[in-house]
Symmetry: C2
Subunit: 267 residues, 2 copies
């Protein structure tokens, strides 16, 4: 069984209520990698009997550190319309909320389509070296991360850069066909921009993450287990918080997801 | 009393529960302008006795059309940490959820700060004509909207453009000192990108809006009642949904907010 499938597995204990667990393979420096939490909360809605269509957006609040071990997920469609459905999904340990997500699911209809974002002219994944870094948190070993530029800090003593942008190829390790939980998780795989901009190690923590899924399951199926191209940048860093935005592209240049997050930082 | 202050006024009826009303001055084609709903939901948290610090993020779900008239807002801090607080804020008509918001409030600490986004080189607000358009929905008259480029459709029969980007100067009408509710509302003031890209009138509706507030109340106070520079663009339009992202700048080039939304469209 793939570690991602182990991580997102959950036992229904009542309608919309699931027993879930943190997964040691997706551990971050403190608590689980935020992407896997996003995947777990999304999966609770995907597994729900009352689900309508497929996810088009998800917002996750990382309310508190999740302790290693079991937690409870409560997923509830709070409003169901003809073609859209709004969700509230809570994760609790004991009686304490540790994470909260909202989501929109929808039945898509074929329409005129287009893309304003530009697919970058990037070298092939095979021509780019995989990330090597001594102090990698465990979850990074669940991803093949191939940073295209030299933006990633190596010694954390390089001179400050004039922006926090970067590009990488990424896929699950081991390889796994792309689906919505995998995509939701990859939307959070981007290195914290403040550390790229400043080339310094700083304590950080994402407080909230919003992802828009432009792909449907057919498009994800066509991507299969190939590398995705990720582009990430920051907008503003100010007084303890910065935002970063990311694009996730198929190898053919289809924009699968755009994602935004607000991150706490110190120093 | 300023129409925005009338619109965000609400009567506490129980702890965290408020009686609110739609405001005819902020009506959109169907139901209220989404920005005013965002401002109302944010204000419910701002007025709450248990509020910690100031807003740093807000996500709004436009779950269903809000009928003109009264509605109930229920605001609840779902997790309060030492310096951050997570909120769930529901708007109901009868027993039906019509809108839902989540938010993060925080006590900011002074840190290293910087901006990666680029402040555009724009002509002064005085040198740009205010938007004129016959079929403007009522809420647009509550804003001074000065589109800098010629991107806005005039006859809805112009040739398709190669992207949906635009820039404008904007402030409240009448002038009003900037605060968080006003900023939350302005984050939704940007014309739907699909209509700029295609130069056609299309039925649209925002399903979810996420705004990150990079400014604190002191910075908003320094902006006062002057024009803000807005920059908006789309990333992808596909099968009934597109996303658009915006930056809201002070006249001096401080990035006050970044905002993202997913919009339903037809045709």
């Amino acid at each position: 069984m793939h570690p991602l499938d182990e991580a997102i597995a959950m036992q229904p204990v009542a309608p919309g209520v699931y027993a879930a667990n943190t997964h040691p393979g997706y551990a971050n420096a403190v608590g689980p990698f935020g992407g896997i939490t996003a995947a777990q909360l999304l999966n609770a809605a995907l597994l729900h009997d009352e689900r309508l269509g497929e996810p088009v957006s998800q917002t996750v609040h990382f309310a508190a550190p999740i302790a290693d071990g079991p937690f409870r997920i409560e997923a509830r469609p709070v409003r169901t319309n003809r073609s859209t459905q709004h969700w509230l999904i809570n994760a609790l340990q004991g009686d304490k909320l540790v994470a909260m997500a909202t989501a929109v699911f929808a039945i898509r209809r074929q329409t005129w389509s287009g893309t304003d974002a530009k697919f970058p002219d990037a070298p092939s994944p095979e021509s780019v070296a995989a990330m090597e870094w001594d102090k990698r948190p465990e979850f990074t070993h669940r991803y093949d991360l191939r940073y295209i530029d030299d933006s990633l800090p190596k010694t954390f003593t390089e001179p400050e850069r004039d922006n926090g942008a970067s590009q990488l190829w990424v896929r699950d390790v081991p390889e796994r066909p792309l689906d919505f939980p995998a995509l939701a998780s990859i939307c959070d795989v981007f290195f914290p921009r403040v550390m790229i901009r400043r080339q310094r190690w700083l304590p950080i923590g994402t407080v909230t993450l919003t992802s828009y899924f432009h792909a449907d399951s057919h498009m994800l199926g066509r991507v299969g287990n190939r590398h995705l191209l990720g582009v990430a940048r920051a907008q503003a860093y100010r007084d303890g918080f910065f935002d970063q935005s990311a694009e996730v592209w198929s190898p053919e240049g289809e924009l699968l997801a755009t994602s935004h997050q607000l991150v706490y930082f110190k120093g």
